[in-house]
């Protein structure tokens, strides 16, 4: 029981660390790192959701190759041991989205540094609250 809960708890802890970084840290780069940690915590969660306890032997990746399709035994093994493929597809998409968001954040941070000469959020306050 315990070993199946621990990864989820770690996920939540990771998410909380990311939220903490965004809420508390005053450095732009640390805020960006916080956002990336949140992103990865969610990706990890999705991968965990897709995990199924294998019936025989170790869990395997849900990849269907022509060789597997030919062999009846391989299909059997895939069905009983493969993890759920759908969350993995979601995670791939989510990673790509996360990558572009973090790239945009880094570019914004660079531009902000050009304008303000600092990464300190307490000094980047030209807008009134």
């Amino acid at each position: 029981m315990l070993h199946s809960v621990v990864p989820y708890v770690m996920c939540v802890v990771l998410f909380a660390i990311g939220l903490y970084a965004i809420a508390v840290k005053k450095n732009l780069i640390k805020v960006i790192v916080g956002a990336i940690i949140i992103d990865n915590a969610v990706n990890l969660f999705l991968v965990l959701v897709g995990y199924r306890t294998p019936l025989r032997g170790p869990a395997i990746a849900p990849i269907v190759t022509p060789e597997i399709e030919k062999s009846r035994r391989a299909v059997q093994e895939l069905l009983s041991n493969a993890v759920d493929p759908l969350p993995q597809a979601l995670v791939l998409t989510s990673i790509v989205i996360g990558l572009s968001v973090s790239a945009l954040m880094v570019v914004m941070a660079l531009r902000l540094h050009q304008k303000y000469g600092t990464f300190d959020l307490t000094q980047i306050t030209k807008l009134k609250g």
Partner: protein, 623 residues
């Protein structure tokens, strides 16, 4: 007709790719080419969205799968397979059935509570019973649901079951469902699509003049098109993960557009918006993950089908909480509103119009309403959360708006307040539907009225807030300032802009012949009728403060003396006038023609939410 739905996403997406290409090839004439492509794309969108109306209800479009009548398996049980008591004191590996829904496919097959399903096999419709493929071990009930959903029409599931120590075989018939990604258009989607295309058309028309002083315009029009594609994608997709992807497409384009001017303030606002929106996306994806783990599908209609039968689940509440936080952030509802008053005014005026008029509604209010009413089911707790967020947003937004001297900032705060109205009305509708007595005609009529009023205010806000943002842009274009204390006498210098701004201001204040009068009146009636007297009083009070805010705006913008340095300014160019004219006409017509348009425009949208989960699932699966 159903072929029109992908066009809503493909047209702006194509334009977003064509615009940089045209710039690459066209060289000097590239800017003009981007403008022409953008304008053609939004004009085509207006045509397509009107065509969806002309055709009326349409079946869902399935990409990569077939559609058929859905039928629930009707069984819940242990999440994963475990060692359970088997025949003759031995133990077997299988999944324990914990609940069987009456009259479901599982009940017809004879499955009972306490049965242990050890293995399954799928049988094709034309196969001999003996020729089925070998039984597979069963991992979880969710797997069985997925297999049931993947069956062809007329296919069967053969289950190996252990009941009270005896092994037996049961045959489940009639699992008919879907495997593809759905695009679906009901009344609500059509309403939002028309709203998006008309406001986008006005915004692009306005940009033709407004954006001229900027350089590298293809970097402006391309994200603008991408944002439209994202918003259209959110409203037409019937799949939870697709909604997330399109949400991100629209959001990513909007980050770039907010920071388009690359001045210090704009970058600061954009970064703030970017970080908070990224957190919101994290919450939303977490919620989606939980819903998938519970329901085993991402199709909204199938989730709705499961919701109808499955017992309430603690983890589902967690997902609902994440959704409220995520979409609340996207819609800038009050505990989560900090980014909006920075981000919306910092963008160029046509983008502000689209962000305030469209983006917070499609990626916040629409998805939240769809999930609450049509997918996860209404409940008193969620309804109260929506109502609380709505009332807080109304109050906080209007209190902060009334003191502002920056015109665009005032408009942004007022957006929070006006979207609060929508949220309150939808919350009241959900609260009444969740009551036990909602079955009687009187109460269901009240719920319908509340939803109707909320959606009516939603499109009204799109019309008048976009109009006001464009008017502010028109003033900024000529004077270079948006500080109300420095402005004045625009009634003499810019008569048309002032005229349109006055229509917008009168609309948002709820003056009778204009649109918001009717929607605010209906909201107040619905809130009071449902028994929330205090909330009704608050609604009227906020309406009064809104009137005060926009009286102040008119006093300092339109009336008064013309400052000396603006003595020789001219009226803004024709495309800006046209764009404002379209939206002003929308404000007037939505108000004056209430008896004529409500039957075709808003009532079907309200009906879509009012139908709740049964109505939505039935509409998507076509019967």
């Amino acid at each position: 007709m159903e072929h029109l739905l992908p066009l809503l996403v493909l047209i702006p997406l194509g334009a977003a790719f064509l615009i940089p290409m045209a710039n690459l090839i066209g060289g000097r004439r590239g800017t003009r080419a981007s403008e022409v492509i953008a304008l053609l794309a939004v004009a085509a969108l207006v045509a397509v969205s009107l065509a969806t109306f002309a055709y009326g209800p349409a079946p869902a479009v399935w990409i990569g799968g077939y559609r058929g009548a859905s039928e629930l398996l009707g069984v819940t049980g242990g999440a994963a397979s475990a060692e359970l008591a088997g025949p003759g004191g031995t133990s077997v590996r299988g999944v324990l059935v914990e609940q069987v829904v009456a009259e479901s496919a599982a009940a017809r097959a004879g499955l009972r509570v306490g049965d242990v399903i050890t293995a399954w096999a799928a049988r094709k419709p034309d196969q001999e019973p003996a020729a089925e493929r070998e039984s597979q071990p069963l991992h979880s009930i969710n797997q069985l649901r997925r297999e049931n959903a993947a069956l062809e029409p007329g296919g069967q599931l053969v289950l190996q079951v252990v009941r009270e120590g005896k092994a037996m075989q049961l045959v489940v018939t009639g699992g008919k469902s879907v495997t593809g990604i759905a695009m679906f258009s009901d009344g609500l989607t059509r309403l939002l699509v028309v709203m998006i295309s008309v406001v986008s058309f006005a915004a692009v028309l306005f940009s033709l003049s407004y954006m001229r002083p900027y350089t590298k315009l293809y970097l402006y029009y391309s994200p603008l098109m991408l944002m439209i594609a994202g918003m259209n994608g959110v409203v037409v997709s019937g799949d939870l993960f697709n909604i997330y992807v399109f949400l991100e497409v629209a959001a990513m384009a909007s980050y770039a557009l907010v920071g388009f001017g690359v001045e210090a303030e704009e970058l600061e606002a954009s970064f703030k918006y970017l970080v908070l929106s990224a957190v919101a996306s994290g919450f939303i994806l977490l919620g989606i993950g939980i819903v998938y783990s519970l329901r085993g599908t991402l199709n909204l209609a199938q989730i709705a089908d499961f919701t109808r039968f499955a017992a309430p689940n603690d983890a589902l509440w967690l997902a609902v909480g994440f959704f409220i936080a995520g979409f609340g952030l996207k819609a800038a509802m009050v505990p989560f509103h900090a980014w909006l008053p920075d981000a919306h005014p910092s963008a160029p005026a046509p983008v502000s119009a689209m962000l305030s008029g469209l983006l917070i509604k499609t990626s916040g209010v629409y998805v939240l309403a769809r999930l609450t009413f049509n997918v996860l089911g209404v409940s008193t707790a969620v309804a109260y959360v929506l109502m609380t967020m709505g009332v807080l947003s109304m109050l906080v937004g209007v209190f902060l708006a009334v003191g502002q001297w920056d015109f665009k900032r005032m408009l942004a705060y007022s957006s929070i307040s006006q979207v609060g109205y929508v949220m309150l009305a939808l919350g009241v509708g959900a609260e009444v539907l969740a009551r036990q007595e909602a079955v009687t005609q009187r109460w269901s009529a009240l719920a319908f009225l509340a939803i109707f009023a909320g959606l009516f205010h939603l499109i009204n806000h799109a019309a008048f807030k976009s109009l006001l943002f464009l008017a502010s842009g028109s003033v900024v274009y000529r004077t270079g300032t948006r500080d109300l204390r420095e402005l004045g006498g625009m009634g003499q210098k810019m008569p048309w802009t002032s005229f349109f701004a006055r229509i917008g201001a009168l609309s948002i204040s709820g003056i009778p012949p204009f649109n918001a009068f009717f929607s605010k009146l209906l909201i107040v009636i619905a809130v009071v009728w449902s028994g929330h007297w205090i909330l009704g009083a608050v609604t009227v009070f906020v309406s009064f403060l809104t009137l005060l805010t926009f009286t102040k705006a008119q006093r300092y913008l339109i009336e008064g003396e013309v400052p000396a340095r603006f003595a020789d300014i001219k009226e803004s160019p024709l495309p800006m006038q046209l764009a404002m004219g379209i939206l002003a006409a929308a404000c007037v017509l939505l108000g004056v023609l209430v008896p004529f348009h409500m039957g075709t425009l808003i009532a079907p949208a309200a009906q879509a939410l009012f139908g709740q989960i049964q109505g939505y699932a039935a509409a998507v699966f076509g019967g």
